[in-house]
């Protein structure tokens, strides 16, 4: 039985490769676009609230409220205004991606050692130079962490987008649940979705670690200070 299922699955992948590939790219692109727009708005907003701490409470609360709305409800509400299709899904992804991106940008920048920014300022850096040469490079890995979380969340939200007529990999899953013997369809949709999420998580985690200035792969042991230095 299981052997049978695997061959069926394999045959389905081979026979419908082009169709699957187009769903795969659509799914991925919707996630990426949504997160990209969220990054374009969210990163500057995060930087802004890191400077003006009074605003941080308001902005983060708003983003938090958006996050609490169930994804399906959000999609349906937006569908009423924007109609069916990909754009509505992208907007939903955008809204959900805002919180992790704003929050991580804010945390990354406020988490930079005050002594270091103070040193920069005292050497005659302008506020923009402190941001560009100190705060952003040091906060980069945390910001990437926000993008990673946003993207993984986005893959899941796009999957729901099938209900409002966007071409996503969960088209297959829905078809599978409606068919009498739909296991092959369900798996053919679910496996690539899981795969995208895992690959993105892995790749961005790697990037995050690469960009962390305090992480040094060659030197894991703390050094003792010698007398003669």
């Amino acid at each position: 039985m299981t052997g049978n299922l695997l061959t069926d699955l394999y045959n389905y992948f081979v026979n419908n490769f082009a169709y699957l590939l187009s769903l795969f790219t659509d799914h991925l692109l919707m996630s990426v676009y949504g997160v990209l727009f969220a990054a374009i708005i969210g990163i500057p907003l995060g930087i802004f609230i890191a400077r003006y701490a009074k605003l941080s409470g308001v902005i983060i609360t708003i983003a938090n409220i958006i996050q609490t709305i169930p994804a399906l409800a959000m999609l349906s509400i937006l569908m009423l205004v924007m109609g069916l299709g990909t754009n509505t899904v992208i907007l939903t992804v955008f809204l959900y991606a805002l919180l992790p991106i704003i929050k991580n940008t804010y945390a990354g920048i406020t988490g930079v050692d005050k002594n270091i920014t103070d040193a920069g300022k005292s050497m005659g850096m302008t506020r923009n130079q402190v941001l560009r040469m100190i705060e952003l490079p040091l906060a980069l890995s945390v910001i990437i962490g926000g993008l990673r979380i946003a993207l993984v969340v986005a893959i899941g939200i796009v999957a729901i987008g099938s209900f409002i007529g966007a071409p996503t990999l969960s088209d297959l899953i829905i078809r599978g649940t409606n068919a009498t013997d739909g296991t092959v369809y369900i798996l053919a949709g679910a496996i690539p979705i899981a795969l995208i999420a895992i690959i993105i998580d892995f790749a961005l985690r790697f990037l995050e670690r690469k960009l962390d200035p305090t992480y040094n792969p060659d030197d894991k042991t703390p050094k003792a200070q010698t007398v003669n230095d």
Binding site: N115, G120, P137, L138
Partner: protein, 384 residues
């Protein structure tokens, strides 16, 4: 060159961090601001490069009022070293050193040259330029912190407890280094500390602060001799007075006549002389009494077997001290660096004396208990 007039900083409407202080600092001076925490010393320092804006009063550098200047340009013209070092962890040592030159848009070659020149100045190898701050020890990092403040040829260097976070031995070497740099480069250094030893060792003049006001602003000798009031006396501390009495003397008062040998003598003559005088180390000079090196009793046996000459055998890496130095400096060297003795030389490197551990110990005993009673006590103990 730097003149502070009626400088006041009030926080939150009423709390006076710095209260109406005035002082003049000459070019090339090494000034220490010292006081307990909350005395306003750091606030005063940070007002000089406008990291903190004064509530009232003026600061002028070479006659120019700094509040009229652009704060960013002002800070680029004043070096600043902080206790937490503050190297940028994502930049190499070279990028860290040449940060201000980069802000001032120097050319690549100039920056490169400056970085090489400066790293040599603090006795670190050039390979360090390509490393990251986390690969250096705390002491090495602060050396970079110090030269970073010199990179754009700043005339004034501000230092906020620059050695506070270092271990005592590293701190001591860095203090020597900074003092040497300051004398070599002739720049004005202003530093904040709460360590009286450090202030006395480094500063030309010490400004003692309390509750935002200047209690005394004078040379270390003057402060130790004539403390302005009980606060200063307490601040110097009873414990320190013992250490400070020898400070009044120069090494000339304490040194003994050293046993030395000229470099053209043979090993046999050298051994004979050392045996006769019962000493373990002999100093080697040329025919004009210029100090060249030393020979240790451990080396001489080996040299004798191999038939070496004095000139090949002697150690040349010798720590010496000038005749005008304060005795305290040699105490520090002997105690902390564990050197047995220090030759005293004049400006022409002519050997004139020797400070040994035992004659320093004599001075310490004499200072604490006076000369005679201690000896009676010792002989009394022998009889019993």
């Amino acid at each position: 060159m730097l003149s502070i007039k009626n400088l006041t900083k009030i926080y939150g409407g009423s709390k006076k961090a710095v209260n109406d202080i005035s002082l003049d600092i000459q070019e090339g001076e090494f000034i220490a601001f010292i006081g307990t925490s909350g005395s306003g010393k750091t606030t005063a320092l940070r007002m000089i490069n406008r990291m903190i804006e004064p509530t009232s009063g003026t600061i002028t550098i070479n006659g120019e009022d700094i509040t009229k200047k652009n704060p960013v340009e002002l800070r680029r013209s004043i070096g600043y070293v902080i206790q937490q070092i503050g190297l940028l962890p994502h930049m190499t040592i070279k990028e860290n050193i040449t940060l201000v030159p980069k802000l001032l848009k120097w050319s690549e070659e100039d920056k490169d040259k400056k970085a090489r020149e400066l790293i040599k100045l603090v006795d670190l190898p050039e390979e360090f330029l390509d490393r990251y701050p986390s690969e250096l020890s705390g002491g090495q990092q602060q050396r970079i912190g110090v030269v970073r403040a010199l990179a754009a040829e700043q005339d004034i260097i501000l230092m906020d407890e620059p050695f506070g976070a270092l271990d005592p031995i590293t701190r001591d070497t860095l203090q020597d280094l900074v003092k040497e740099l300051q004398q070599k480069l002739g720049k004005t250094f202003i530093f904040v500390t709460h360590d009286m030893d450090e202030a006395i060792k480094l500063a030309d003049r010490i400004c003692i602060m309390s509750h935002g006001e200047i209690v005394q602003f004078d040379s270390p000798d003057e402060i130790l001799r004539n403390p302005a009031n009980d606060f200063v006396r307490d601040f110097i501390g009873e414990g320190r007075l013992i250490q400070d009495r020898p400070n009044m003397r120069t090494v000339a008062d304490a040194m003994i006549t050293p046993v030395s040998i000229t470099v053209d003598k043979s090993i046999n003559e050298c051994i004979a002389l050392m045996r006769e005088k019962r000493i373990d180390t002999i100093l080697v000079t040329d025919s004009h009494k210029k100090l060249l090196g030393f020979i240790d009793i451990e080396d001489i046996n080996e040299g004798y077997r191999k038939g070496m000459d004095i000139v090949d055998l002697m150690g040349r890496d010798i720590y010496k001290i000038g005749i005008d130095s304060k005795l305290q400096d040699s105490v520090r060297t002997i105690l902390k660096r564990n050197v047995r003795n220090i030759p005293v030389v004049d400006d022409n490197n002519t050997l004139i004396g020797l400070i040994t551990r035992s004659n320093l110990v004599d001075i310490v005993y004499d200072t604490i208990w006076g000369e005679e009673p201690s000896r009676e006590l010792a002989s009394g103990a022998d009889e019993a």
